[in-house]
Symmetry: C2
Subunit: 371 residues, 2 copies
């Protein structure tokens, strides 16, 4: 907030108005698309997952701008809209998160089980077919892309008869259990999202965003106020949070930090992950603040993108590890299933550690901007 | 074998004779010490583990020299002694290996469970006290050094009553199961070693080594034959084997290679570990060949030492991971126990990967010799 010496060419509040109008327009376009596809894939129509992603994308950006540039916006308006956007963003994100988690865990089990043995057995061991949920990550009508890979993986292996074979059966059963649990969670998240999109609460938010598309409620002095100090403050919050991370440990490969307390009484959520999740959010706020200043066609900071991807991977692996631990607490599972879930949990915590290392490596490098 | 251009100051076969006589003398000293302590610790007497270690140490060196410098030794004599030394070395190594594996796995469980909760619970959950086995790694009469640390770890945690607590119970039960299985294996290995040391087969080997202490059966031309070409050939075999290792992958942190097929039908032994185990043996042969050339007071190659330690860690973690997987196949264990063993298995495979990374890092460096 100290940099008040400003270049007259620096972006002013007008730029924030333009950015918010563009994001609101994008939201309305995505909402129209979502209603046209009816939340389900019609033949030849656009993928409802694309519409859902575009909705989430614009809601996140509007919400972030309200947060970062709060002093420039009409207080009553932004304070009433902010929690509604958080609710909407959270509700819309769940289905995608469960779908991605399922895919991550099944791919990891696949990798851990050898390429030809597990998939066929998993398909045979899965006691329930996946529910017909829509709006997942993949294109097309089939919501479980892994199935295709599984079907193509060759003839089924002979049923294991030795003691050693139990572990493979364990991997197959663990896969079936996770698929069942996460498909159920995804189906529920889908219903919740559909209900939310039909609610009067949502209609009130959508109306406000429709107004935003033509008229951004700026304070009287905003159009000529420089944006840079507020964007710089967002960057400072990010930098401070990164400074507080254990980057020396993270930069030392195989520090075995992420699996510490992996069997402690409260493995989920992992408290050591929280500062990294926080940096992920602050990095996103910083990135969107840059967008507001320079427009979405502005320069891309490759370091920011790569760091963000590492932190996304950290979050995904952290949540996948927790899901594996949670599945292991299902009553009456076989020991072989529990063993496979233990290996899977540790594998994903290993991924958490790898993501921290990747973040540390990329953050050490000088920022490289490309036009 | 190409380097026949030799420096007249290079060591000749006489040096090999000196080295073998010294190792044979060391063997006889260790054997006398072992008989005095009777394989058990008397008050104030030397530790029988030290005697056992000294026996293994000299047997390994004699055996390695017979292998590397075979053309310089009387063929009939060395060919009859070699398999006997391999038998003796293997028999003597087992008890120590089980003790070290037990300590490694219990320490890992301890680390994975949080410092204050697991040990007290593990002690309570252990259904059988460890057998009074002697000759383990630690000094003193108590063969399970971890116990002391466990007793000092504070008051017992309250018994867990929540679902999440099951995992902690799982870690405690896994620890108790491993302790039982490995203590049994260790007791058996101890008995086998004692039987071996009392057998006529052993007495025949000991007699041959007693002769070796005064008279090394060299071929007639050996005393003036240079040792260097045979030592260089041993180094070439090491270098070739290292070149064949997947060092590029190993040098890329978090390559997740070691856990691939972690749930495949045949997780133990891991075929991908074999070339590393082979390099470990070839590195030892190279190190002992250097000792024969330069004497045990010769220059220490720190890189060789560090590389050897990394490969020891690789072997230990590989075998510990296999022991955890094997314990998980015990019939009628609780799912929480199996889950903890799965986490432990993956943790040790992670250690395998870390050891490969450490080896790659140290091998990249220039050889540094200190006097």
């Amino acid at each position: 907030m100290a940099q008040q010496h400003l270049d007259p060419t620096d972006p002013k509040g007008e730029a924030l108005g333009r950015y918010l109008r563009a994001q609101a327009t994008e939201f309305l376009r995505a909402l129209r698309l979502h209603r046209e596809t009816g939340g389900a894939t019609a033949n030849g129509a656009e993928d409802p997952a694309d519409a859902a992603r575009a909705l989430r994308r614009s809601v996140r950006r509007i919400s972030a701008s309200l947060h970062t540039f709060r002093p420039l916006l009409e207080p009553e308006w932004s304070e009433s809209l902010q929690p509604e956007l958080a609710w909407l963003s959270g509700t819309l994100a769940m289905e995608h998160a469960y779908a991605a988690r399922q895919e991550r865990l099944l791919l990891a089990l696949h990798r851990l089980s050898g390429a030809t043995v597990f998939p066929a057995q998993a398909a045979a061991a899965a006691s329930s077919p996946p529910a017909a949920v829509v709006g997942g990550r993949s294109a097309g009508a089939e919501p479980v892309p892994l199935k295709t890979a599984q079907a193509a993986a060759g003839p089924p292996a002979p049923a294991p008869t030795t003691d050693r074979g139990n572990l493979t059966v364990g991997a197959a059963k663990a896969g079936a259990l996770l698929e069942r649990q996460l498909t159920l969670a995804r189906t529920r998240a889908h219903s919740t999202a559909l209900q939310a999109l039909g609610s009067s609460r949502f209609h009130a938010v959508a109306d406000k965003i429709a107004v935003l598309a033509s008229e951004v409620p700026l304070t009287p002095t905003t159009p000529t106020t420089p944006l840079h100090p507020l964007a710089a403050a967002a960057e400072d919050r990010l930098t401070d949070a990164i400074t507080a991370l254990p980057l020396v440990t993270a930069g030392s490969p195989y520090n075995a930090e992420a699996l510490i307390h992996g069997l402690s009484p409260d493995p989920s959520p992992h408290p050591q992950d929280a500062p990294w999740h926080q940096v992920r959010l602050l990095l996103r706020l910083h990135r969107y603040a840059r967008e507001a200043l320079h427009g979405t066609g502005g320069p891309t900071d490759l370091r920011l993108l790569t760091a963000g991807q590492a932190l996304d991977r950290h979050r995904d692996a952290s949540e996948a590890a927790a899901a594996a631990a949670s599945a292991a607490r299902t009553p009456r599972i076989a020991p072989a299933t529990a063993y496979a879930l233990g290996v899977l949990h540790a594998d994903q915590r290993h991924e958490v550690e790898a993501a921290r290392f990747a973040f540390q490596q990329c953050w050490q490098k000088q920022a490289v901007s490309t036009p």
